[in-house]
């Protein structure tokens, strides 16, 4: 890998984004939050959906 071949740092895939925003970050006791059990399910569901999309994009 050379400098010019470094992947575009700003081309954030949605998978990376979802992995961080729905699975990490500070959890505080808001008035409305998504329950941990629910957010785990949502995260897994989105992950599954996005992984299949990603696989399709990588292997057209």
């Amino acid at each position: 890998m050379t400098t010019t071949e470094l992947p575009a740092e700003r081309s954030i895939t949605l998978v990376e984004l979802v992995d961080r925003l729905l699975d990490k970050g500070v959890v505080v006791s808001g008035d409305i939050t998504i329950a941990v059990a629910d957010i785990d399910l949502i995260h897994l569901g989105l992950r599954a959906l996005l992984s299949s999309v990603e696989t399709m994009e990588r292997n057209p």
């Binding site: 890998m1 400098t3 992947p7 954030i12 895939t13 949605l14 984004l17 729905l22 808001g30 998504i34």
Partner: protein, 263 residues
């Protein structure tokens, strides 16, 4: 509260992240509803980055439903992220998990006051540092070729598969496949672990997910970003001939390096 007509006129406050006393410029930044301005609510030297949201979209029941719509989720998580990236240009920020909403700013202020000391020290540890993500993708056929070409035992089995009589050759070929598979997995795991160690050495903190191929997050001080990139180029150059490709993402707000549980 369940979503319903009564929610339509009601507003809540969506919180993106927490910062110290210095308020960054946010004049033209819009929130997750696509319209409301983003602003800072400050209490005792800790600030929350906030925008108003309609509760018919972000109320408890509605939010649950919306989260099943991928285009909605994509738009909102991208906005959440871009607000934080904007803030991170000027300030250390503690990113909140997606979907934290308050009904009143008073409740939010009392949270900031209650958790002040923990928040201040967390922000202090993050100052000047950014999160980077590194993923290693393994092209197994290429790594298998590299193993076959450099491993004495594999070479011997390959020779047997070519020269022995059909029956023995068949078993040699099967044995070779199994042997190479094992070597490939072991080698990928070893190279990924080594890459992680080297990257982690210039990071303040590092985490990696389980599994052979690397998926790591690194909290790197700005003064060491050049070193981090250099090491990534080096491990990339070493991995390339044997089918390992390293992908970099970031800089991210430090999602992977904040306490994820509430006290």
């Amino acid at each position: 509260m369940a979503a319903g007509p009564a929610d339509a006129a009601q507003r809540g406050y969506y919180v993106y992240g927490l910062i110290g006393p210095d308020v960054p410029p946010l004049a033209d930044v819009r929130g997750v509803d696509g319209a409301s301005p983003v602003f800072v609510v400050e209490q005792d030297g800790v600030g929350a980055i906030v925008s108003e949201v309609p509760l018919d979209e972000f109320g408890e029941g509605a939010l649950q439903q919306k989260l099943e719509e991928l285009p909605w989720v994509e738009e909102k998580v991208r906005t959440h992220e871009s607000v934080l990236e904007r803030v991170a240009q000027d300030a250390a920020v503690l990113p909140l998990r997606f979907g934290t909403i308050y009904r009143s700013l008073d409740r939010l202020r009392s949270l900031l006051a209650e958790r002040r000391s923990g928040l201040v020290s967390a922000l202090e540890q993050l100052r000047g540092r950014r999160e980077w993500g590194v993923k290693c993708l393994v092209e197994k056929t290429r790594l298998a070729e590299a193993v076959e070409g450099s491993d004495a035992q594999a070479a011997e089995l390959a020779e047997d598969a070519k020269t022995k009589p059909p029956g023995s050759a068949y078993f040699a070929r099967k044995k070779l496949e199994r042997y190479v598979d094992e070597r490939v997995d072991a080698m990928a795991a070893r190279l990924a672990a080594r890459a992680h160690e080297r990257l982690a050495a210039v990071a303040d903190q590092a985490v990696r997910e389980d599994g052979a191929a690397l998926k790591g997050a690194y909290l790197v001080h700005e003064a060491r970003e050049e070193d981090f990139r250099r090491i990534l180029r080096e491990v990339g150059a070493e991995g390339e001939p044997v089918g390992l490709r390293f992908e970099l993402t970031g800089p991210w707000p430090p999602y992977s390096f904040v306490e994820s549980t509430t006290e």
